[in-house]
């Protein structure tokens, strides 16, 4: 069952296309890894899927009643919000906002969900700490906990492992794998082809156009797949 598909999609900024000719579909429970060089249109695609940017051509269709309120998102880490006074708990809890409907305050379920997400990512002890005083890895876990609060069916991750040390990266990947096994659909942008090759079910390779879309096994047998894997391994 597909929950999201892109048809003949062209995306860009200010009239200049960044990525063209996208045709692919994501099924419920799949683990799609989006790979490609810097500037190949990966983040642009993710922003378009999230509705932060409208397509220049073609369309993005959600199926099976997938709503924005069921999507979680882990943005690429930025230096913005550096001096924002916010406790870890406040940031994580804000992920539950999409379940609020018209209620002005969070109810017990939402609060419990935020605590659960924090426990799952091992950040409960930082709950009252200031977000900006945490290390990069800790901040990433806070943002992932927030994404978990928001995600009911689909989780979009933009370079979740960038700037993390290997041990924490491994932890992160195994958590995402576990979520996927519980039925969560995953769309992940990654530079790390080894992780993609191990965990993903499907691969989308972008280079300002769609170089490959399909199952992982097929990808690893194509020329681009082999070449890319080689480049990754030597990088």
């Amino acid at each position: 069952m597909n929950i999201l598909s892109c048809e003949n999609l062209t995306l860009g900024y200010e009239g200049r296309p960044v990525v063209t000719g996208l045709n692919f579909a994501v099924g419920e429970g799949q683990y799609l890894c989006i790979v490609g060089e810097n500037g190949s249109g990966k983040t642009t695609l993710m922003r378009a899927i999230l509705g932060l940017q409208s397509p220049m051509q073609g369309q993005i269709i959600t199926h099976d009643g997938l709503k924005k309120e069921e999507i979680g998102y882990l943005p690429q880490q930025t230096l913005a919000q550096r001096d924002f006074p916010a406790s870890v708990y406040e940031v994580v809890q804000s992920g539950c906002l999409n379940k609020s409907g018209r209620r002005p305050f969070y109810n017990k379920q939402q609060k419990a969900r935020a605590r659960e997400a924090m426990a799952r990512l091992g950040i409960t002890e930082f709950a009252k700490k200031c977000y900006r005083n945490l290390s990069g890895g800790q901040q990433q876990r806070v943002l992932l906990a927030r994404a978990l609060c928001a995600a009911d069916r689909v989780l979009l991750l933009d370079e979740p492992a960038s700037g993390l040390d290997p041990a924490i990266t491994e932890e992160l990947y195994s958590l995402i794998r576990a979520l996927n096994q519980e039925g969560m659909t995953i769309l992940m942008i990654s530079h790390d082809l080894r992780a993609a090759a191990r965990d993903a079910s499907h691969i989308l390779h972008l280079a300002n156009r769609q170089l490959f879309f399909g199952e992982k096994e097929a990808y690893l047998n194509t020329d681009i797949g082999r070449l890319y894997a080689l480049l990754e391994a030597t990088a």
Binding site: Y73, P75, Q81, P85, L97
Partner: protein, 284 residues
């Protein structure tokens, strides 16, 4: 001390002094709440820009001889607030430059209008009053007091009931939009509320000192507190205390109300900066 108390009780027998106190506290509360959001959104200077636009609008209303100038001033200021806050990414002239252009232009146009269509013989006195709010808080009518109170209550209610949404949209606009909270709608609401509060605050401190009323409490609170809730509550309390202190001191010392409130805020900021230095060392 007894002398000071006597002076105060003497002054508070006058209704206009009591009005000034009530309106001062109400406005200080509103500006501090909005100030937290503005400072965090990197829009600290929008209050200044909008207050100049409001000055231009007041001059226009005077030139057109409109008796209740709020009916003209609030919509014009709101329109520009929307333009500045929402134009954001797509505007030809961005952020700080846009604010600078608009505020300087409307200041010039306003001053020109006041000179071309003088409403009294003392133009520079009028301009000074509008800019620095020298006496206007002491000349409030009953109607203005009720309007200020009504608007302040509305701002307070909006802030309380939309608190979590305001946090989410301010902290990460993209995440909020991506997960189904319309950041656009909240930015629009924010722009309108800011315009209303700026016009309100003009009565208190005049156009030039509004920025101080908006950003000082938030900045002071951010020196010491590390959570959004802590900063918001602290800013509100500080702002009310400074307004109260400023008004009382201005009565006792015979200083201009607006400037005294700002100086109270400045003193508070310095105090909290020192406090912040001491506590960070302890918690870091």
């Amino acid at each position: 001390m007894t002398n000071a108390w006597q002076t105060l009780t003497y002054y508070f027998e006058f209704p206009f002094v009591r009005y000034a106190l009530v309106v001062g506290i109400a406005v200080a509360l509103c500006t501090s709440l909005l100030g937290v959001v503005l400072v965090l959104k990197r829009f600290s200077y929008i209050g200044d820009g909008l207050s100049h636009i409001a000055f231009g609008a007041i001059a226009l209303a005077t030139a057109l001889k409109i008796s209740n100038n709020m009916l003209l001033v609030v919509p014009i200021t709101a329109a520009f607030a929307i333009l500045l806050l929402m134009g954001g990414q797509r505007a030809q002239i961005k952020g700080d430059a846009a604010i600078a252009v608009l505020s300087v232009s409307s200041l010039a146009i306003g001053y020109l209008l006041l000179n071309a269509f003088p409403s009294s013989t003392n133009i520079s006195g009028d301009v000074c009053t509008t800019l620095f709010g020298a006496t206007s808080i002491l000349t409030l009518t009953m109607q203005e007091v009720w309007m200020s109170l009504g608007l302040s209550t509305a701002v307070l209610l909006i802030f309380v009931f939309l608190y979590h949404r305001i946090f989410s949209v301010t902290f990460d606009e993209d995440f909020a939009t991506a997960t189904g909270t319309s950041a656009r709608a909240y930015n629009l609401l924010l722009a309108v509320v800011i315009a209303v509060v700026v016009v309100l605050a003009m009565n208190l401190v005049g156009t030039l000192l509004i920025t101080a009323l908006l950003i000082f409490p938030a900045l002071s609170a951010m020196r010491v507190f590390r959570s959004f809730r802590g900063v918001t509550i602290c800013a509100a309390v500080l702002s009310v205390v400074c307004a109260l202190l400023g008004i009382v001191l201005s009565i006792l010392a015979g200083t201009p109300v607006g400037a005294t409130i700002v100086i109270a805020n400045l003193a508070c900021f310095l105090l909290f900066s020192i406090l912040g230095l001491v506590t960070t060392r302890r918690f870091a």
